[in-house]
Subunit: 432 residues, 2 copies
């Protein structure tokens, strides 16, 4: 497809999204229920297409982990449809008044949430992600340009077909098919307002480097747990272990554990004993290696690179630090500004960590794995952002909105408020 013809299609998506935004929240929620029902009724078509995708993936030698994500079975579909119904029941994210100020009698200013416009979303193998993404777009009245993984092409096409059947053609939705379409999308400044990539770090980085459109997401998730001198030992072991092993492939799993030298002699052996139960490989710096009695079993000597690595597996880097200053400095130079936790019973340490660690999420005395839109109670998760602009950390439906200033007057000119006998503004904040 040429860039020019794409641009026309993108603009048609924007126009359809505008129509969507003129519906009431009840109408958009009803659409979501129709969509869920349609997908449920047509589950056999979905499973058949998914079976074909799976068969081709198997014959192509696709790794098991990817096959697992590609497979859309009954329980995964049920989960996705329950998600759609949950999104339908959430409060309406658009049209909310965030500020209301009487500038003067008869001159009312309101800052109101508003759909962003057109979202470009690229996701990997999982076809259930498509269902979730479309439901978020409908609820927030945004147009959506989707590009799924090549492996899931048949499944995704059938899902979109059924969604179109259920929602009068769903013109606010466009499904891209080729990789070159992604590059076209990345060049559509002005016609796409926000790019949300979900995929490998390398892919997210590729998107960030190849577009002037804002990108919501995170490339790396190098999260650290710092065990302060004052930490409760049992609590520290429990939380640090959970941060690593509860789901090691997640972006919010800990990759590095930093330990205050004053507690290292007690903490490190206890920590190792627990990690051994899960078969976690420890990349230990010299000081922790000395405490661990040298390389042996799951313990290897850390290379400097290990402290810059997102293992995404049962491995971690371990380092003894002189104190909280070194821990904070280490996180600043090695972390990815995603999620970092301190284990401490000292309030001053907690405060310092919260103030000085410049990450989207800073935690005390709990697992880094809590960094998640559902656990945070955001209702639905759009993604996790390590950018500082727009939205940071786990992002809910709010991340698919912008705001608009609405000013309703009764004939006011700026000339009246200028010069020597100028009228003065009231600037009276009103309740929301």
């Amino acid at each position: 497809m040429s860039v020019d013809s794409s641009r026309m299609e993108y603009r048609a998506v924007r126009k359809a999204a505008m129509s969507l935004s003129l519906l009431s929240d009840d109408e958009r929620s009803a659409m979501l229920l129709r969509m869920a029902d349609g997908l449920q009724r047509n589950r056999d078509r979905i499973f058949q297409a998914n079976g074909e995708d799976l068969a081709q993936a198997v014959s192509g030698g696709t790794p098991d982990a990817l096959l697992h994500r590609l497979k859309l079975d009954g329980s995964k579909l049920e989960g996705a449809l329950e998600g759609v119904r949950t999104v339908a029941s959430l409060p309406c994210p658009v049209g909310r008044v965030r500020e209301r100020r009487l500038l003067d009698e008869g001159l009312l200013l309101e800052k109101v949430t508003y759909p962003i416009g057109v979202i470009g979303m690229v996701f990997e193998a999982r076809p259930d992600a498509l269902i979730q993404i479309v439901s978020l777009a409908v609820k927030s009245a945004n147009g959506i340009i989707l590009k799924g993984g090549r492996e899931a092409m048949r499944t995704n096409s059938v899902l979109v077909e059924i969604i179109r059947e259920s929602l009068d053609g769903a013109p606010f939705l466009m499904l891209l098919s080729s990789h070159s379409d992604v590059d076209t999308m990345l060049s559509m400044e002005g016609d796409v307002d926000l790019i949300i990539p979900r995929g490998s770090n390398a892919f997210v980085r590729y998107c960030m480097d190849h577009t002037h459109i804002p990108v919501l997401g995170h490339a790396d998730g190098i999260c650290s747990v710092y065990v302060d001198r004052s930490a409760d030992l049992d609590l520290a072991v429990k939380v640090a272990v959970d941060s690593k092993v509860q789901y090691p492939a997640a972006c919010n799993a800990a990759e590095t554990v930093l330990v205050h030298e004053g507690i290292a002699g007690d903490f490190i052996p206890a920590f190792r004993a627990e990690l051994d139960r899960y078969g976690v490989i420890i990349h230990a710096d010299d000081r922790s290696l000395a405490i661990l009695g040298g390389e042996s079993g799951n313990v290897v000597r850390a290379l400097e690179d290990d402290f810059h690595t997102e293992f995404l597996s049962l491995q971690l880097a371990l380092k003894v630090v002189d104190g909280i200053d070194e821990a904070i400095a280490h996180i600043a130079s090695h972390g990815s500004h995603h999620t970092d936790a301190i284990i401490t019973s000292d309030e001053t340490s907690r405060r310092r960590f919260f103030s000085e660690v410049d990450s989207a999420d800073v935690f005390s005395n709990c697992s880094t794995r809590f960094a998640d839109g559902f656990r945070f109670g955001l209702g639905a998760e759009v993604g996790i952002s390590t950018g500082k602009i727009h939205a940071r950390g786990p992002v809910g439906l709010e991340g698919l909105t912008t705001t608009k200033w609405q000013l309703s007057g009764s004939g006011q000119t700026v000339a009246e408020y200028s010069g020597s006998d100028a009228r003065r503004f009231m600037h009276k904040d009103l309740p929301l």
Copy 2:
């Protein structure tokens, strides 16, 4: 300066900004008062440097408008220092709790405002802008990399000198001197968090096109006033005239006036009579030209380009439309999503305009010139953004902040909240 040595200096600015953020708001406000006093005490040094800049500019044949902006006299300096003291008195923009949610007993989540980090700001001739920008950075605890206009180099250097003398060296502040430094800054992804350009449209566009760092600002300000059929005639003339003539060089001045055909015969002659008093040149489309009796005096036939032009002077483009649909469509295809106003006494028209015009500011029955941080009651204006991400429309100090999620636990692991006998989250919103 090489990119690598720049990077080291930028990181020193970030570190100093972190120290700034650890001060209390009272301490930062006291710094602002010290800075204002220092500038006041050293006004003669400032005026002397500014005199040298002016002399060189005059001898170089600089146009009057630019000389006017370059000149920093007693009253401009007083105004700027009053601005600094006002910023000192504003509520603290950082450390504000935006959300507070008890995820479970002993597991408290807070979303807190936080400085963005390092702001890169480029501004044109006006040296008083430097004073304002530094005051905003100090108040919000951000580091700031500044590049002023070449014409104002001596004045800016002296201003920074005095600020450094007043604020223990002000290490959170860096002044760039060459144009190539701007390109270096635009390449400093990761070391600069936000670029705020203030200058010509072409310059803002240049910044947007040459960086992957988010840019807060607007290139064009093509604002429209639409006079609906139901408009009060006198009110429409008064507001439309103010939108154009009150300060034509501003980004929020109207460039296009669209008139419903049902009121055009009455409105256009009355509007022209007022515009003639100010010598405004009207670029009229065929239908309005017919009402105006053809080209004559200040009336010329509009070219299509005139409806895409930001005149920034006493000129406007005038068009008769069939109704609100055509007006909305015209604004979508010709406007710059900055500020657009409807003049109407029909509530349905007002609502449609507010919903369907996708601009940062949508106004009814008042001048587009109200689009301004001070008039909006934001306390201080960082800039006006036509982007939809982060901040839109006039942006106050809030635009120099991001947020951070802080989660304080007491030993919680995600494992406890997973699986068949999982603990359930409370997700109880607490008052702010």
